[in-house]
Amino acid sequence: MNGAGVGDSNQPQIRIRSLDKNSVDFVLSNTQLSVANSLRRTMIAEVPTMAIDLVQFMENTSVLADEFLAHRLGLVPLVSHNVDQFKYTRDCTCAEYCKDCSVEFTLHVKCTEPGTRAVYSSELISSNKDVVPVSDDESRGIILLKLRKGQEINLHCVAKKGVAKEHAKWSPCAAVGFEYDPHNNLRHLAYWYEKSIKEEWPLSKNAEEEKEADPDAPFDFKAEPTTFYFNVETVGSLDPQQVVLTATRVLQEKLVALQLALEEDQNPGAGTNMDDAEPWV
């Protein structure tokens, strides 16, 4: 660090409380609210994944309209562990889409038996073995539509890389739980109640981690939150730990872009050379 003062000694700490296939529960401490909130916002909206973006219908004699099905297909989560290998289509050199920026899927099902034929997301045939619809080993994925005898569906999809800022279908997170100050010691919340706050607002399990402030002590109006409870739940496209790690990287990339822009502003022409950029570690 070249300067004194800007929070030099900030050494955030992390404690993972539980980790499984689709969620990670962790405590982030020794940092500020704005940093914790930026991490939350980035995990929800700016971690890239793959999702179906274009659908071409060759045949659709099902009861569902084309655009209705296209929207559904867009929302199907795709395994995106290799999303880093893809370019954004807008950055790609190809005219429309190509294998460097997209994955193609086909779906062709006709119901020939009497009765109902359910079509599952696992029946989408991918052009890339690493990018396939999310499904557990024992399940067939998500039901996309149902066909009766004689009905047919034949379509072609293109999945692209994107972020949830553009459309929520690209979000790797189903939900991100975020809490701080479970006892409301900082009085950031004004609870509405009829008779008793304590009875009407039960404490979350995070309350066990912190002490309640002495009700007789004078209120510390300078106190700030430093401990944040996260519960990152994914849709299956990325591992939860991957979501957290990618979010920190995305934030750093944004900051690097700002740093380069500032350098460029001060001595035009020089900042474009990476060697001139100041190292940040």
């Binding site: 070249n2 003062g5 499984d20 982030l28 704005s34 730990q241 790690l245 990339e253 900051l255």
Partner: protein, 159 residues
């Protein structure tokens, strides 16, 4: 029909500068940074970091309009430094902080993995970010998140 394309909120158009610096004619040592294609995520952390700096007298941001994808960040400092310099310090400090968060998280993953049992890991899908297995062959491939040990010098973003 007239709606702007959604990707316009994060792709910088050709010929537009990422940061525009405007001097404030009424306040000494004050600069307004107009940051293109960023939102509360970046502006709020910068504002917060700047306010912690002892030489900063004023730091605040606003998003003038939800369909104009930029933020205005105004910074005033004492005469001992300049708004641009404290801004650079704030950016560096934040980059370090996110690097620290990442290595702390990576270390926690190793600890959780070592403890095994209920906090078990998923077999597939760690590849792109380095496996939790120390000494895995994929360690250090492009896109590796770094942060494998108790060190902070491993921020290896490739541009």
């Amino acid at each position: 029909m007239n709606a702007p394309e959604r990707h316009e909120m994060f792709t910088l158009p050709e010929g537009v500068r990422k940061i525009e610096l405007l001097k404030d004619s009424k306040m000494a040592n004050c600069i307004q940074f107009n940051i293109q294609r960023e939102d509360h995520t970046i502006a709020n952390i910068l504002r917060y970091k700047l306010l912690q700096h002892p030489q900063v007298l004023f730091a605040a941001y606003r998003m003038p309009h939800p369909l104009e994808y930029y933020v205005e960040l105004k910074v005033q400092t004492t005469s001992r430094t300049t708004p641009v310099d404290v801004m650079k310090e704030a950016i560096e400090s934040l980059m370090l902080e996110y690097g620290n968060i990442r290595s702390a998280f990576d270390n926690e993953l190793l600890r959780v993995d070592a403890s095994g049992g209920d906090l078990g890991r998923r077999g597939a899908g760690f590849g792109a970010f380095g496996s939790l297995d120390p000494g895995n062959a994929e360690f250090g491939v492009a896109g590796d998140m770094g942060g494998r040990g108790p060190r902070n010098d491993d921020v290896d973003i490739d541009f």
